[in-house]
Point group: D2
Chain length 208, copies 4
């Protein structure tokens, strides 16, 4: 089921290369040992993140990647084809939770690198005012944003990508489309749980 991406390990991490389903068997003790194997600071083991998700809202960043022309106008909007936990393929944006002691800028840069690779050259925003805040609830129908795992508060940013994209990990492909074309509408329709609505809000904010 397509939801906010989360806890995807980076290359070299304790759990890099494992399928996400394998996390289910990791005990807190494993995780403590795992922390000796270079998990990123702030990364939580499955017991801790599961408990937190039942207790408090989880802070997220959600990024709409765009290509711009010389005049700053958005010429293309990117979306990801992503392998979800159950093995199905979903269309998503770039999302991830903010880790303990991580700044929003670091979270934005880390999550872009996680999905688009290290030479994407994102042009991070000068100010951190999000264009919108999306509230995901674990109860279907409570709002237009739904995440079965958690209550998430996602700060949403548009980030121009100036470099080359090399999809990473569970991200199979990055597809760029003209925001004024028919394919954009099709792609928005393929994004579930409210992520398509975030693209629409981004396009309206951009004046497209």
């Amino acid at each position: 089921m397509p939801v906010l991406n989360d806890e995807v390990p980076d290359d070299g991490d304790f759990d890099a290369g494992r399928r996400r389903g394998e996390f289910d068997d990791i005990t807190p003790e494993d995780f403590i040992h795992g922390s000796n194997h270079s998990n990123p600071p702030g990364w939580l083991g499955p017991a801790d993140i599961s408990r937190a998700r039942r207790q408090i809202p989880i802070a997220y960043v959600e990024i709409v990647p765009v290509r711009t022309d010389d005049m700053g106008r958005v010429s293309q909007v990117g979306s990801l084809l992503h392998v979800s936990d159950d093995g199905s393929i979903e269309r998503t944006l770039i999302t991830g939770r903010v880790l303990f002691h991580e700044t929003l800028r670091e979270a934005i840069a880390r999550n872009i690198a996680k999905d688009l690779g290290d030479i994407a050259l994102p042009m991070l925003p000068q100010n951190l005012q999000p264009f919108t805040v999306a509230e995901f609830f674990p109860t279907p129908g409570l709002s237009e944003f739904y995440d079965p795992r958690q209550h998430a508060i996602a700060l949403c940013y548009v980030v121009p990508i100036a470099g080359d994209c090399k999809p990473q990990d569970e991200t199979l492909d990055v597809e760029w489309v003209d925001p004024r074309g028919d394919v954009m509408e099709t792609f928005i329709g393929q994004m579930v749980n409210g992520h398509g609505k975030i693209v629409r809000q981004a396009l309206a904010w951009l004046g497209v």
Copy 2:
């Protein structure tokens, strides 16, 4: 030490009327019983909130209350005199964490009612784009915003107050001053850990 207000019980709660220091002795078992005494949904006991604060960023709302004239111009800015955990008096804004399954609007309304009472008549924002996002870290000097208890991500809003204010609980008084006067500068200087900076950012955003 003046920090982000948190977990202040409402009237009728299990722990209403207790000093905050008393929370220290409450065990998780007490809290479980306490939950039979109408704590708000999403409210966490001391063990759970303490653990969460060491593990993940905590989502907050922070509100700059203002009075406006007929033309929408800000005529006065409010600040609170608040009894801190150690019994000292601090000058603060209205802050509080977002509870599990609570919307941002509910969190804003609840925290205003907690500090200003039920007839303050806040005019909540039509859109949830915060004027700034303040990142509080538990490490002094890491950023201009400091909170010894936690990593907090505070969405900051300006909210006009149209009604009467009746300070509640630990809030001793609400003081309104002309944002263009000398007293405003003095009050900003009295707010520590970055809250004064949030007022300055609000005033700049308001064009004052």
Copy 3:
């Protein structure tokens, strides 16, 4: 032809009660005399406004009137039925140019009063950052915003209306609809020259 409203006189003005077509015969000399009859300061006669419209961009405010609930959520969006210069009926927003020596707040308040009457009780924005800026050009197809008379730069605001509306002058009626309903979509389709797009951008910005 439905365009940005402009130069609509207030009650008591020299030209109040006249149909707009009658302006065509007013000479600059009439206007000079007219200025003794309480035209608003900054109001221009037809020769001057026509010349200005061929020479420089004209600054406008454009207002999306809304009704909000206790939590600040938009419950209804207003649109106007307006008699255009050629006598046809058009659906519009509240628009008007900023007069010489008039502040943006005054222009917003004046144009709301012109269309909705004096007891509409608009809640003017605390800060003047528009949710978008719409650029109208006199050349069809140059942008999504078109105004045959002029190049206009419209600062766009959402303004909650708390009072009663009494349509004035050329405004025949104000109609309020649920922004989530089908009628909203119909009304947006009825607004030409880009005004419907401004409503869509407002709704996206509001998170509706």
Copy 4:
């Protein structure tokens, strides 16, 4: 007297290379001939621009140029040393009016090129929502923004500059300073008529 820059010709224009004072003797007839000499479209002769300035608000863009680091944080803020009409030297931002039939993006790009040269590589904003709108009035004291020549409505943007700056025309130098340092404060103090306030608002919006 330091005011909003305006009507500075580009290289190759009819009046390029002339001191601005020379414009005073140009008659409308000269200007009509001048229009055969490649003045930019929308450029007005002295009689027309003078009349417009006495009749309606003039639309401006005002740009705070910045340098950013890899994370999008502002590392430096630029200001210009500019020769004013009376030959004195003033510290300013990049400002200019929006010409007839010119888009805001074109006006931003043209005015940056005018002051910083053609290889400044400005990163224009993806959306045109200004961080603030400054209202300049010709009456001293009416607002914090003053322009003796006109009523100007300035849409204010922060624009990162990625390339090299080659000051042009009346611009003698571009000076870059750390926004957190003492020199920033000195420079802000040197900007008159409200431009220093615009820098302060930009810094607050940027979270500096």
